[in-house]
Amino acid sequence: MEALEKFMQKIKPKADGKFPIAHTVWDGMYTFLFVPGHTSHNGTHIKDGIDLKRTMIMVVLALVPALLFGIYNVGHQHFLALGEVALGDNVCSMFWDKFIYGAIQVLPIVIVSYAAGLGVEFIFAAVKKHAIHEGFLVSGMLIPLIMPVDVPLWMVAVATIFAVVIGKEVFGGTGMNVVNVALVARAFLFFAYPTKMSGDQVWVSLGDGKAVDGFSGATPLGNAVQGGVEAIPSMMESIIGFIPGSIGETSVIAIGLGALILVITGIGSLRIMLSMCVGGLLTGLAFNALGTSVYSQVPALHHLMLGGFAFGAVFMATDPVTASQTNIGKIVYGLFIGMMAILIRVANPAYPEGVMLAILLGNVFAPLIDNMVVSANIKKRLKRIKTA
């Protein structure tokens, strides 16, 4: 490792040289390879081993099960649509074919997302003369996982650049953004290129093949709008996840593994995850009781397994920057998002999925929720003076 360190030091460009971005890129690479041996001089002399890179890499690790499953499912859906495997077949038949096909479809999206986003980050870091901040390590992985597999790569690039610039850098960069960067990317595409982000054409990659007769590429939630509750796959199918949907969001099991990693390491807030589920469940139950439309008949528990709910609860709502910061606030915030998600899903006829919008809405309300919690604390302190 010493040789590598020497080599890196040798090629170190000057910070104030002709191309400031060269130093930024070098610094990014160097701190990626080595945690710099800076030592503390003021304040605590010893420091926790954790830093933002480690925090972020834990989230990326937590996303790996969903990514791997997504890759496999893309292949599975592909061969299912072409009729090369049947619904009744063992899901593991043609294992490698599915995996390789999925990888060919998914990995370019991941690469484009990282390339576009990190490109923007490097430029901003160079212009603002600060080090590369790690926030995009996670956003770069989240963006592909919430895209439909057939999204054109240029759209991924445009959406990512838009999200990083407008969603984050204009607010001051990592840690300063108001809304979740990955969701900005998806919302941007949803409103800018609706035909590529919804409907029944984009969720299953057909490649050059031709779908078998009677094939529908719609997501379960899309099916429900058109075909009623019966068209929705069973609860078990939604938990396992071999259904059409965004790349990473179909398997509750894979997402659950990620949730486990986040909760054990203490990086993801269990409060938000649980309270969002409770909020969704309560709203679902309320609609079940009313039972007015077809869609409100979906069992409340089943709602939580469908669409982006689980993925949103585990990876999106828990984003520490845009979520509520106080412990009580987190519970309110989760409840709010859970309720809004199901409300939008059921009550909005044009849009069969509500989680993304609900979380964006939650992000906007998070500071207000916190403000109320902190104000209560302030009032308590003021009261103490009067009674004392």
Partner: protein, 449 residues
């Protein structure tokens, strides 16, 4: 009426090199240094000049804001150096020992028989006074204030901290005299907050004239500010005085013997110390007398504990408020893929390192930052280790933006930098919270008092 206080939030950082409960031979004290920098916001005015012969208790400088607060020499000898920094700020006043142990004489009596003014005067004149600090602002107490209570902490939960019970053991009479003096200074209560985790020394449990509270829990349970917050919090407009049980001994000795006896017992600790033990020395002593070949190469010398202490050289001097000399390994090495390595040897308040599986292991931590400074990203980290009913991040943000109005509302009067030490330790974003707090307290003091 005593109180039981259980602190649940916080964390004990177990480091290698805790002191054995034994004394090494008393350190020879060749010189002492007083550093006005140990007292936040103090503007010192010199009395002594280089070449002056002083006794223990002879004033060296005083507080410009309140000339009654005097700082006296802890030993007898000669003022040999007065070092200044930029703008002629006084950094160090050095006194070389003459080995005569001569003392100025002060009033010698049981404080119970004295009036409040007499006790106050004795403390101020002898130079013992600066040991007493106050909240708000965590500065030297203002003798003109009427504190609503005095809080004495008899436990220290910081990493490698000295065991106060071990040090005071057998000094019941002196300790009680000190308490009697303090009891004269307030119309409220004197709280003696003892260790509720195990059996406190009988000197503490038998103390009279005070309310004894049992405090248990992880660090920062030993911080006097945390204790006061749970026993009787400071509100706007109120003042409490705080000190440590070991300081009470100095006060007790003043009244028993009529002289300023600044000797103190210091825990000499850390993984770089060959045999960590307790050492009898004097306030401000040169640490080379204490080290005496008992350390390994490559250590960082810290006057105080590794969370709140000050870095000093191996020829440096103990700080005014420090009862601990820590020597821990210096860092500085780049860690290849350090941010993704399993990290069995890294202690973390989060569970992102596998070290969380071995909670009782003792760690040999060095001074590496383990990362670079970033914006506040993670939430809930500070709250986990900040056992007050205060929102630390909101308070810090008000402090960073110098928003005094919000600081007041969010509880600035109750906190001291040391209460944020664990927050700073565990901060993912590597923000220097103690510095932020200190600067904010200085600002509020300047603007509001």
């Amino acid at each position: 009426m005593s109180k039981e206080i259980k602190i649940r939030k916080g964390a004990n950082i177990k480091l290698k090199g805790a002191a054995e409960k034994l004394y090494t031979n008393p350190a020879n004290v060749s010189e002492i240094v007083l550093k006005p920098g140990d007292f936040p916001t103090l503007i010192p005015k010199l009395i002594a000049k280089v070449g002056d012969k002083v006794k223990a208790g002879t004033p060296l400088f005083f507080d410009k804001e309140n000339d009654k607060i005097k700082f006296t020499s802890p030993i007898s000898g000669e003022v040999t150096e007065i070092n200044r920094a930029e703008k002629r700020r006084i950094v160090e006043i050095k006194v070389k020992a003459d080995g005569q142990n001569s003392f100025e004489s002060f009033k010698q009596a049981d404080p119970s028989s004295l009036s409040k003014e007499e006790v106050l005067e004795n403390l101020l004149k002898s130079g013992v006074w600066p040991l007493i600090r106050q909240r708000p602002y965590d500065v030297i107490a203002n003798p003109n204030d009427k504190p609503k209570a005095i809080h004495i902490t008899a436990l220290d939960t910081a990493p490698l901290a000295p065991d106060y019970g071990f040090i005071v053991h057998g000094q019941a009479e002196i300790f009680q005299l000190g308490l009697n003096a303090l009891a004269k200074l307030t119309e409220g209560k004197v709280h003696l907050n003892v260790n509720g985790n195990d059996n406190p020394d009988e000197v503490f449990t038998n103390a009279k004239n005070v309310q004894i509270n049992r405090v248990s829990g992880p660090h920062p349970a030993g911080n006097v500010g945390i204790q006061a917050h749970h026993i009787d919090p400071v509100n706007k407009g109120e003042v409490i005085w705080t000190l440590r049980a070991l300081d009470v001994l100095t006060i007790g000795r003043l009244f028993k013997e009529g002289k300023y006896d600044a000797s103190r017992t210091v825990a000499f600790v850390g993984s770089k110390v060959k045999s960590p033990k307790y050492v009898r020395t004097v306030l401000g002593a040169n640490i080379s007398d204490i080290i005496n070949g008992n350390v390994e190469e490559g250590g960082r010398y810290i006057s105080g504990n590794p969370l709140t202490g000050t870095q000093i050289s191996e020829n440096g001097h103990l700080g005014y408020y420090d009862y601990q000399l820590s020597v821990i390994p210096e860092g500085g090495n780049n860690q290849f893929f350090g941010w993704i390595a399993p990290g069995f040897d890294k202690f973390s308040l989060s569970r992102t390192f596998f070290s969380w599986l071995t909670p009782n292991k003792e760690y040999d931590l060095n001074t590496n930052m383990n990362g670079e400074e970033r914006a506040f990203v993670m939430t809930g980290e500070y709250e986990k280790v900040f056992p007050m009913d205060i929102y630390p991040v909101y308070l810090l943000k008000a402090m960073i933006t110098e928003d005094i109005d919000n600081m007041e509302k969010l509880g600035v009067y109750e906190v001291a930098p040391e209460d944020f030490a664990l927050c700073e330790y565990g901060c993912t974003s590597k923000i220097e919270t103690q510095k932020v707090v200190r600067e904010a307290l200085n600002l509020v003091k300047k603007e509001c008092s």
